[in-house]
Symmetry: C2
Subunit: 652 residues, 2 copies
């Protein structure tokens, strides 16, 4: 047998092989990753490579085609005459006859880097926990009575190098023999964690689907991903139906304790909601839910417990120890979740107390543990979670911010939806506001269609910041009685309020106002966040963050400057403040698409030091101090801040 040199570009991997070896086999031998979902059976067409010209002149080669076996029927069918004429080949079909150099196009490379589109770009290698393996087996005969499962194991070893004992999940067992025989002994097996066969599909199944869900107290956000390509093919979100049992997690714990079957009701509500999201996602992608083979869930500790039917009463009261913190895999069928019945549901690990798997997801998305800069991550939901640290150490805490920052418990508060006032600037002279409304471009002008229905969280923070900057409220948050503007007035009960939008400019026929109580609610929320950040900085031994990241859907809308003005977070250059959207959702997706990220989650959940604010002796004092606008430690208005602001205005 002749020896030939093979070179793969652009990796430059090379080596010497015997003739007749396929390009795919050579690529595996020399570590040049070529994608091959069908395992080299010539049916998926994904291992396309291009035979390179020119480079072989120094090896004295005249015609590259002489150095590979002729194109097979499969290749002509998969690639077409045109690509064949451009020297494309399938690596699994082309046998080496002489020295050859091939180029592996980006699309054919295994372990592609994928960029998630939500929030920000995050690069990682696709390495899902569930993978597909295509197998062609010899039919059973009287001379070869191996059982069907043995046949699968033997092929997995032979074709994919599986060494370890693979187990078979019960639902797979039932129709195994039937599927194998009806599909002519050609099947695709889906293997979880290189350990367990959780699905057997007839013939070649190229794509493989998984779902990541951020189970928020208020909102569920779900993503359907192709586990082979990393692509997000559908997104859906819905309100958490548990809201009817309580707005926040503490009230839901109370509900579960005070009501017979309380936990069962909460549990059922969330399971049904997830099932309807799964249905919707599958429907949008033209799939059935049984095709979804992996599911990653993240959420706070209470959502985690309730979703798993674990009594949340103990995690709701001191000393707040959860039933378990580690990342866990449970069978979807045990939880009543309607995906492929053999599949697992993976809950990312919890950090501690109220800092849950959603925060761990934020961490694996933002990777503060890889940064030299000291990062403050503020995830604002109905419950606020804060993390501070760098590659050396990390601390986290949880703050009961309440739903005010999301527009709830605010007189005209509403979610960030059509008709919500989302941005506010108040003129320091006239005290009149300029507003932006979701659903229309630009600032609202007199005479525009009256769309305003209420105020969403970002505008509430804007209003507080602007009312303070323009002197309409003082640093204690109280209305300035001497304000000359007609917009500052008393309501029927004599309580002070500020009119943000007169009735004729609204779609609700009522003046949209900010009340003294609204401002109080914001003060309580921002004080909780500020205190939390302050404790974390202290534990770490830092005086200020190098960078602040707002995570959470709400974080995307927030006006960073307003947040700084009202003293929601410690001082930081505005250029270093960033909103990253639903980082928890991104983290959940990462854990769905990458085994490495899933392991990383386990590590970071254990690494983060949890700070229990309530057990700090001076918490009450600090909290009271933090209620003021801005926090007394703020250097505002600092030169830095003003410079930042000048720079920001243009981009506004």
């Amino acid at each position: 047998m002749m020896k030939c040199t093979v070179i793969f570009q652009p990796s430059g991997r090379r080596g010497i092989v015997d003739t007749e070896m396929t390009l795919l086999a050579a690529a595996r031998e020399f570590g040049a990753d070529i994608e091959s979902p069908c395992g080299g059976a010539g049916i998926c067409g994904k291992c396309k490579v291009r035979v390179e010209e020119g480079s072989f002149q120094r090896l004295g080669i005249e015609s590259k085609t002489d150095h590979l076996s002729p194109a097979t029927e499969e290749e002509i069918e998969k690639l077409g005459e045109k690509e064949i004429s451009k020297n494309y080949r399938l690596a699994c079909c082309a046998a080496i006859k002489g020295d050859v150099m091939v180029y592996v196009p980006e699309e054919s490379r295994a372990g592609k880097q994928i960029i998630l589109e939500t929030g920000r770009e995050r690069e990682f290698f696709i390495d899902p926990v569930v993978k597909n393996y295509y197998l062609e087996m010899c039919p059973a005969t009287l001379k070869d009575q191996r059982d069907d499962f043995r046949r699968i194991k033997d092929m997995l070893e032979q074709k994919y190098g599986f060494q370890r004992d693979i187990i078979l999940d019960y639902p797979v067992v039932k129709d195994l023999s039937g599927i194998i025989r009806r599909s002519g002994w050609k099947v695709t097996v889906s293997i979880w964690n290189e350990k367990e066969i959780i699905k057997v599909s007839p013939g070649f199944a190229e794509n493989i689907w998984g779902v990541a869900i951020d189970v928020g107290s208020t909102t569920l956000a779900a993503y359907l991903c192709n586990l082979r390509t990393g692509e997000t093919v559908a997104k859906k979100s819905m309100m958490n139906p548990q809201i009817v049992y309580g707005e926040d997690i503490l009230s839901r714990i109370t509900y579960s304790i005070m009501n017979e079957e309380g936990l069962a009701k909460l549990h059922r509500a969330i399971v049904e909601a997830i099932n309807s999201l799964l249905e919707a996602l599958a429907g949008e992608a033209g799939l059935v839910t049984a095709e979804i083979v992996d599911l990653v869930l993240v959420g706070n500790t209470v959502m985690h417990h309730i979703m798993l039917s674990i009594d949340p009463q103990y995690v709701g009261r001191s000393p707040f120890a959860p039933a378990f913190k580690g990342g866990m895999n449970f069978k979807a069928r045990d939880l009543g979740l309607k995906i492929n019945s053999g599949s697992y549901v993976h809950w990312l690990p919890l950090e501690a107390g109220f800092v849950g798997a959603d925060n761990v997801a934020v961490l694996i998305a933002e990777e503060p543990y890889r940064q030299d800069e000291k990062m403050l991550i503020v995830d604002i939901g109905t419950n606020g979670e804060i993390v501070f640290g760098d590659r050396e150490k990390l601390f986290s805490t949880s703050c009961a911010t309440g739903p005010a920052l999301e527009g709830a418990q605010i007189k005209y508060g509403m979610r960030a939806a059509f008709g919500a006032i989302e941005k506010v600037i108040i003129d320091p002279e006239t005290k009149d506001p300029r507003i932006k409304i979701i659903g229309r471009e630009g600032w609202f002008k007199k005479g525009d269609e009256p769309l305003a229905k209420g105020i969403c969280g970002s505008a509430i923070i804007d209003v507080c910041a602007e009312l303070f900057k323009t002197g309409i409220i003082d640093s204690t948050g109280r209305f300035n009685q001497q304000s000359a503007s007609p917009r500052v007035r008393r309501d029927a009960d004599g309580k002070m309020e500020y009119v943000l939008c007169y009735a004729e400019d609204t779609s609700i026929g009522k003046d949209i106002v900010i009340t003294q109580e609204d401002i109080r609610a914001i003060q309580l929320a921002k004080a909780a966040l500020y205190c939390g950040a302050e404790y974390l900085l202290e534990k770490f031994g830092a005086t200020s963050p190098d960078r602040i990241v707002f995570a959470g859907a709400f974080g995307s809308y927030i006006n960073k400057e307003s947040a700084m003005v009202i003293g929601m977070v410690p001082d930081c250059s505005l250029k270093k403040v960033q909103a990253v959207g639903n980082a928890a959702g991104d983290g959940a997706k990462l854990a769905l698409l990458s085994m490495k990220k899933r392991r990383e989650a386990e590590g970071v959940a254990q690494k983060v030091g949890f700070v229990e604010m309530a057990s700090e002796p001076d918490f009450q004092i600090r909290f009271a101090e933090a209620l003021a606008f801005p926090h007394k430690k703020h250097k505002f208005p600092s030169v830095d801040y003003l410079l930042d602001r000048a720079g920001e205005k243009d981009g506004d």
Copy 2:
């Protein structure tokens, strides 16, 4: 700290320890196994040892009690004053103060040897797959917010040396926190295979329960065992309710193919039957089924497939490849079996085709793979399985014996129950029979209460042998027309028959007869068994077995001599023929009580070479030859046989 010498008897294990170490800790260190279900918490009282006298004189010891800490309150409570005065102590409480020698009584030794009571004595070490571990944990505090599961893992590591990652099954998760807190942070965890926590019980749970079931085509036999002591605390059996869908396995396969929902009906029937057996066993032992934490099932390949809801059509036709052969663990809840919901059901491995897990169970009970003698094991059920071999090699085959040997498809056939004729001898001169009836002592005499209702399998074989020996039938099985006895007569249709019992001596008011067709049915059954044995001897390269074992409930009743006379098995000294009862049931129990036996099953199932009789080219010829009484290769009546017979008669 002082060094002391400690000696454990009767093992003789010894070593030097620091003072204050407990006897239990010292025993562990030196490998002297002392049972300690509560892990040394002083609450189970199982680690009782006796401080020895005399032996220490050479060490210059005067008073043994000086060399141990004084008896604690727990010891006095558990042992009582009387035992304390006899120098008994609890090894977990007694701290070493000086040189000491203790005797570990049999009852306190871990890894006791247990003798099963069914069929024959079998010795083995108890080492169940599910074990209990008692844990006392520190309550959670604000300073120690470890999650509950972490706390359990930490204690398992600390107290029992668990190193590996233990996982937690979903049903355990739900009430984990509640159980731990309600029981004052003292729980017993049941761990499966040193891998997974499948149950958490409040406080100290000393005993642990498992069930082994032999799922026969006709009969289910179930045993409830204490997994700590090995004791069988309850036994139950019942008819396989699938019988309404077909008498034998082939007719049940046909039913599943021909009827919509056929498999589902068969599956449901067997699951319900097993559940009712579990209920009955638990009831008899004063338990609830949720206290059963392990379940081992054995049965033939078709029972195995149907019980697991696997379509049996492929295993029922050539090339007979099963869905899987290896031993498998499935969650009881996935199969609808009502034991502890986190528990596994273990099916022992199959050998091949129709040689199922029941036969593997027989093998681990009889251990032919440990014998120098060449053993022929004949397990007679509705389907007959035969194994032949020794420590070098083993071969097996399966024979469609049909239900005739069990009394079915025989005109007056019945199961071995009250009123069944179980034993027959025919006088060579008078041609009159002597019969024994189940339910009364001794041979039936004229004038005795007429109890006879029918003939069970053992008597049918007796009758055939006796009819042949007395010349009433010839070697082809046909009635001798010249027989002078009035008992040999023609029925209304002119067919020959032999009257075994006249109507007045029966409780059914009819003559109990043996028909020509009955004899044909026995011939077919015995020919199948004989042929099978012959092929196995040939494959092995042996001319005769050194020993024959009849397994199966039916095997216990069989008259070895009659079986030999009719040519059911190859020649063998009668002294070397033994009936061992339900060896499959014993094997199932062994797999329940011993991890080692379970592993052994896996090994032997792979080791046995399966012989597919139907694919042997000369099968039809051989089968026809084997129909004769006795088989033409029989040396009967040999000197050996006659000697054996003379010896046997006394014991009859």
